[in-house]
Symmetry: C2
Subunit: 366 residues, 2 copies
């Protein structure tokens, strides 16, 4: 993988970059739609390409449970299995082991846990996670870490960071496919010295890129931005930075201003299935609400997505109200278009030198 | 509406025709995907067009309950409401009143019933049904009838037919939009004299086309074909014939051999959502079954649909197994392609003079 830093704003930390992978290029800043179980919910690969998605996410924990890594391996990897020939990033499974499973036992080399589906027992550690992600064949692989919750005491965060750092070193030592790249994950909860220690030690290990984890887990937004202010200046400038699981349009812009390059979030797809659309500077429209039953305007007038070019709120509201799949499809299309178009506008604003104006506009309107 | 009989087979009753409507032409024999609540389940209008759908169905009963005819009327009719500019056929609502509602009271001029959704009371008779369908603006409107169940005693069928004939006369007297066309519906259960009486009296009323109802309600297949053998010879040759709610690929071919021109059925879309695909001469493949988890071939090798060109059974099986919407979408795409391609092949076989060979092939392979 090659990361080229194309431009750095002088008035903020915003960066314009290009990541080259074996499955194609990624323009950063980038938003990555989430395809947890080998499908970006409600969408097909052709539609994702038409929306301009350059990279999507897959989930090690979920894919390893169903269909199982054996089947994906037999298919020739996740790209072939799901019919997606552009870049894929996979997480390590650590986050899900700690958030989804209740029965788990910590060991030195990983976690023993019971599947959230059928209670079947599994063991996942850095070696196992790397082996699975090697078979998945994703272009960007995440090191295996422990994600601390919020709030989290200093002692717990400190102990967790030690475990995480050891697991990340082990992750780095594992063998991956030639085209694959490994990202380390900065942890340390909301404690400055832990975050700084994490960022410094990971930089020494030398990963292909750096993720920032343990944020967007319930902490106040200010603490998220504060943590980024501590971390990004320490990370090497010649490697991409990925803020995991973030976020709202405003959070994305504010994080880009602090030097983050990559984002993923289930928000556009999940809120779509619940009947909510993103518009303007990040406002949400509850399209399913009864007040739109006679509203014959598009979700967002002027929006160029398939849903807004062809259908009214009244129709989409009806579809959502009676549970028609097309309703979820149309809102998902609009919301992904919104996020991918937002990130494109941000890239253009950095290129054109007017990122700060865009940032102010988004902060003013909310 | 203009119906042109383009060709009539000499060795069977199969007919090739063209229906001209204000929203475009329909080549017959035709299969019409069902869009009960203003959406052919899981599909968008663009995909339906790409699959070659020339006309779709809408459902008066369901659309009148939700979103309500007022909203569709405000939208400017069903075409505009759902973004479909090709022909639409709407049923009269009679079938659903009798099949879906438990609380109902027969009156001379219609049926009082409680909505299957919230129990709210409604009244539907020929006048109400025509008024609703006028507002829906469908190109082909169905007369309001009572659909007899199977089995049904002669006495009940006879009495029901009398009611139906009176309601159909009243339907004919109602005012529709200029571009709309009204079909009468032949009833009479499985009794020859009742079916013949129905067909003759409807022909005298002179409708724009003739539906055959009360079949595919649980009767043996032979009785369905027998009934068609009684009815179609009586119907005028210069009007299209529509067999409501039918059916399997074999039933469609056998009905075409008996002079039927139009079909609708929820089977391709409903079975798709349950994980079943149509292949070959009408065989079904339970793609959701575990035995396909490692099957990396398409649903139907050689099939030119989007699902078969891009995805394996193993992937689609996984999607269905974990409940991903894309799984239902891909199977729906395949099944609709199968039915629309089948009817296209049948049209070509009538044109080319080899319909009987195709019919034999389908009967032999099942």
């Amino acid at each position: 993988m090659k990361y080229k830093l194309l431009k750095k704003e002088t008035t903020s930390g915003a960066r314009l970059g290009l990541i080259e992978t074996a499955h194609g290029n990624i323009n950063t800043p980038i938003f990555m739609p989430v395809g947890t179980r080998g499908s970006v919910k409600a969408m097909n690969p052709e539609e994702l390409k038409n929306l301009g998605a350059e990279i999507i996410l897959g989930n090690t924990y979920h894919l390893n449970l169903r269909p199982g890594i054996g089947i994906i391996s037999n298919a020739g990897g996740l790209h072939k299995f799901m019919g997606w020939d552009r870049p894929i990033l996979t997480d390590s499974g650590g986050y899900q082991v700690f958030s989804l499973t209740r029965l788990r036992k910590m060991h030195k080399d990983g976690v023993e846990f019971a599947s959230h589906i059928d209670g079947k027992r599994f063991f996942l550690g850095p070696k196992e996670s790397m082996a699975i992600q090697k078979d998945l064949g994703s272009d960007i692989v995440m090191a295996f870490d422990e994600c601390t919750p919020y709030p989290c005491s200093y002692e717990v965060a400190q102990k967790s960071l030690e475990v995480t750092l050891r697991w990340e070193k082990i992750s780095r030592e594992q063998n991956l496919q030639k085209h694959q790249n490994l990202f380390g994950i900065v942890q340390g909860s909301v404690y400055r010295d832990l975050r700084e220690k994490s960022a410094k030690e990971l930089t020494e290990i030398d990963f292909d890129g750096y993720s920032i984890g343990g944020l967007s887990v319930g902490e106040p937004e200010k603490l998220m931005f504060q943590t980024l202010d501590w971390v990004t200046p320490i990370l090497p400038e010649n490697k991409p930075r990925y803020l995991m699981g973030v976020g709202t349009p405003k959070q994305i812009i504010e994080s880009i201003a602090r030097g983050v390059d990559m984002f993923d979030c289930v928000m556009p797809t999940r809120l779509a299935r619940h009947g909510t659309a993103f518009v303007g500077a990040g406002a949400t429209v509850p399209v399913k609400a009864g007040r739109y039953s006679n509203d014959f305007t598009p979700i967002e007038p002027g929006c160029q997505c398939y849903a807004c070019r062809n259908f009214t709120k009244a129709y989409i509201r009806h579809l959502l109200n009676v549970g028609e799949i097309l309703g979820m499809r149309l809102l998902t299309t609009h919301n992904l278009y919104y996020f991918l178009n937002l990130i494109k506008q941000i890239r253009e604003s950095i290129k054109g030198g007017y990122f700060l104006e865009l940032r102010e506009k988004f902060n003013a309107e909310i």
